[in-house]
């Protein structure tokens, strides 16, 4: 019997980190303000007191330096969880992530494993304007050598980290700051998630809605509303953005013969481009209609609420797009 508990996204993340620290001596958390401040988003609040300075390390503002140090520590046998406060500051560490974390294994002919986990808050939704609202999953998903995860649900927020820490290769975990205060139910007796696979969050037959991150709940809400008018959508949460779980995607679209891809990231050269291209290549003849994308408008995110909202697909946009694709009125 499935027991259910209510939990915020923040608490889910925190329990994940806490559990990781309890379960493995080699794990430590490092990042700006993770300790004394309690975490920029209060995810690590109390952990310094519980685990001490050796395990919860506040670092100076120096993203390239401390992410690189995390990579070095991983090479030398530790299991660091490096928190880059938000992806917006992640470009400062991009060279370390790409040219070192993603590349050392190959360059050394297989000798140097880099089992680092890098957590980054990301996404829009808090009126933080152009330099603090980026959705850069696509930039990281382009890079071979990285494993890129996206925690679009509370369950994944709770359990992804444990799996990520099992990886001998570098993992980037995207967490969504606009979801932190949202409470959802998650099953108590499910204690692991399969992060190598996309997850069908809702089974349906009329159309596949493929999404990740902030898109998951938006698409589920849209799907429920569409169900009430008789449209039966399937919602696929990608979860792992690199390497993509092509199998699950193609199976879904081969069944529904129609696909809409939804993401907050800027549209050009994005995850949704990639998925559309793969569907094209692999199952073109299964399609009853062109695959469409709803993605972020290509603008640095503006501060005012009405413009911010207009910058990314909203529930109604999804509903309308699906209706249109199904010629429903």
């Amino acid at each position: 019997m499935k027991e259910i508990t209510k939990i915020t996204y923040r608490e889910a993340l925190k329990q994940g980190v806490r559990e990781a620290l309890q379960n493995d001596e080699r794990v430590f958390l490092m990042g700006e303000d993770v300790g004394r401040y309690g975490g920029a988003f209060a995810v690590s609040k109390g952990l310094l007191q519980e685990f001490g300075e050796d395990k919860i390390m506040d670092v100076p503002l120096s993203e390239s330096g401390f992410v690189g140090a995390g990579i070095g520590a991983a090479v030398a046998g530790m299991k660091p969880i490096v928190e880059v406060m938000t992806v917006n500051f992640g470009l400062l560490a991009m060279d370390q992530i790409v040219n070192n974390a993603a590349t050392l294994l190959h360059m050394s002919g297989g000798q140097m494993n880099v089992p680092v986990v890098i957590r980054m808050g990301c996404g829009i939704g808090r009126q933080l304007a152009a330099q603090h609202s980026h959705s850069w999953e696509p930039l990281f998903a382009h890079i071979p050598g990285l494993i890129v995860l996206s925690a679009g649900t509370h369950e994944d927020a709770r359990h992804m980290l444990a799996k990520a820490l099992k990886s001998p290769d570098p993992v980037i975990v995207f967490e969504y700051t606009s979801m932190l205060n949202i409470e959802k139910e998650i099953p108590v007796n499910i204690t692991r998630v399969d992060i190598s696979k996309a997850k069908v969050r809702k089974v349906g037959k009329d159309i596949s809605i493929i999404t990740y991150g902030i898109g998951v709940y938006k698409c589920m809400d849209a799907a429920n509303e569409l169900a009430s008018i008789g449209i039966d959508t399937e919602v696929v949460d990608l979860r792992i953005l690199r390497p993509l779980d092509e199998e699950t995607i193609l199976a879904s679209v081969s069944k529904t013969h129609k696909a809409l891809i939804v993401e907050d990231a800027w549209k050009s050269v994005s995850i949704s481009s990639e998925i559309s291209a793969r569907i094209m290549e692999k199952i073109f003849y299964e399609l009853d209609a062109p695959v469409l994308r709803l993605a972020g408008v290509e603008v640095p995110i503006p501060y005012p609420l009405h413009l911010e909202d207009a910058s990314v697909p909203q529930k109604n946009d999804i509903i309308n797009a699906v209706k249109k694709m199904l010629n429903h009125d």
């Binding site: 004394r36 401040y37 503002l61 120096s62 330096g65 400062l92 330099q131 408008v297 501060y303």
Partner: protein
């Protein structure tokens, strides 16, 4: 110092203070959103440094820049309207609290990537030098920023190129919740400037007169040499880092201790002592500020929102034609 001058400086500090108190109020009313970083406690730095500059000099700042913007002469209206996200804001409402810009006043942000504006400042100074202009580029940033690689690269470039940048480090002892001693392996930040051969001085940032002296000296030196200068202003923020901060990392008593060194109180006392003002005149200034701040709120309230159709404006210039 003349009475008029002294009173104007007091007015500026007090305006910043009241403007920000009002902003905090409007924030709790959800009129202002996003991040809001208050400068309260640090007013002597912005006012003391900026008074040393001319209108032709350029200024760059961080996300904690209301003080710099107001001291530079951006109107309270345009700043408040910006934080309301209104078209009448100094950045058309696109930027909000962290991105105040006014090119006509050579006020270049409002930059929210910590240390990201330091290279810009060096480049602007380089351009002016190439144009044979003698103006200074003044760049404010926190002590936290000085740990970033951009600080190192910018200091070195400015020194190598001999460009007139006034680097002002506002050392308020904390970068969010991370105290100076966890950010830097040496605490006398002015020593960092010396590693680039840059003139470097630390000053009591709670004392307006001290800041003014130091800033004037810095500016005189830069004008003479054309070289960069590093001014560390030791100060303190009385408020939380932003509106999201529970302040777990410092004791209330520490804050109270620092509040005894309130730069406005110190300067008021000085003005009174030197007979440069009277209690009555101060009351008049405060009343004037009160209505100025209220006008700013009214202005912001009655401002207009940009049309959603214009969403993608300002991504590329209209005149782009390749």
């Amino acid at each position: 110092m003349k009475a008029e001058e002294g009173q104007h400086l007091l007015y500026q500090m007090q305006l910043i203070r009241r403007f920000e108190e009002k902003s905090a109020e409007q924030y709790t009313k959800a009129k202002i959103r996003g991040f809001l970083h208050l400068y309260i406690g640090e007013e002597a730095v912005a006012v003391g440094v900026i008074q040393a500059l001319t209108d032709e000099d350029s200024i760059l700042s961080t996300y904690r820049e209301h003080g710099h913007a107001l001291a530079r002469g951006l109107s309270a209206e345009s700043v408040m309207a910006e934080m309301y996200g209104k078209k009448e804001g100094c950045s058309m409402g696109r930027g909000g609290s962290m991105h105040l810009f006014d090119a006509s006043k050579r006020f270049y942000g409002g930059n929210a990537i910590v240390s990201g504006h330091l290279p810009l400042a060096v480049g602007m100074a380089l351009a002016l030098k190439k144009q044979n202009k003698k103006n200074i580029t003044c760049c404010f940033f926190g002590e936290g920023a000085a740990a970033e690689g951009e600080f190192h690269e910018s200091m070195n470039l400015a020194a190598l190129w001999n460009v007139p940048v006034l680097f002002v480090c506002e050392n308020n002892l904390y970068a969010m919740g991370t105290a100076l001693k966890y950010t830097h392996s040496i605490l006398e930040l002015e020593k960092k400037g010396m590693a680039y051969g840059i003139d470097s001085v630390a000053v009591d940032g709670m004392n307006l007169m001290a800041v003014i002296n130091a800033a004037n000296k810095a500016v005189t030196k830069i004008k003479k040499t054309g070289k960069p200068y590093f001014l560390v202003c030791n100060t303190y923020r009385f408020r939380a880092h932003s509106m999201f901060d529970a302040e777990l990392y410092r004791d209330k008593s520490e804050v109270e201790e620092w509040k005894k060194r309130d730069p406005i109180a110190i300067f008021k006392k000085y003005l009174l002592q030197e007979k440069l003002t009277t209690e009555q005149e101060i009351a008049i200034i405060e009343a004037r500020i009160e209505s100025e701040v209220q006008r700013a709120v009214d202005f912001a309230e009655s401002g207009t929102l940009e049309s959603i159709e214009d969403l993608t404006k300002f991504v590329y210039s209209k005149k782009t034609e390749l």
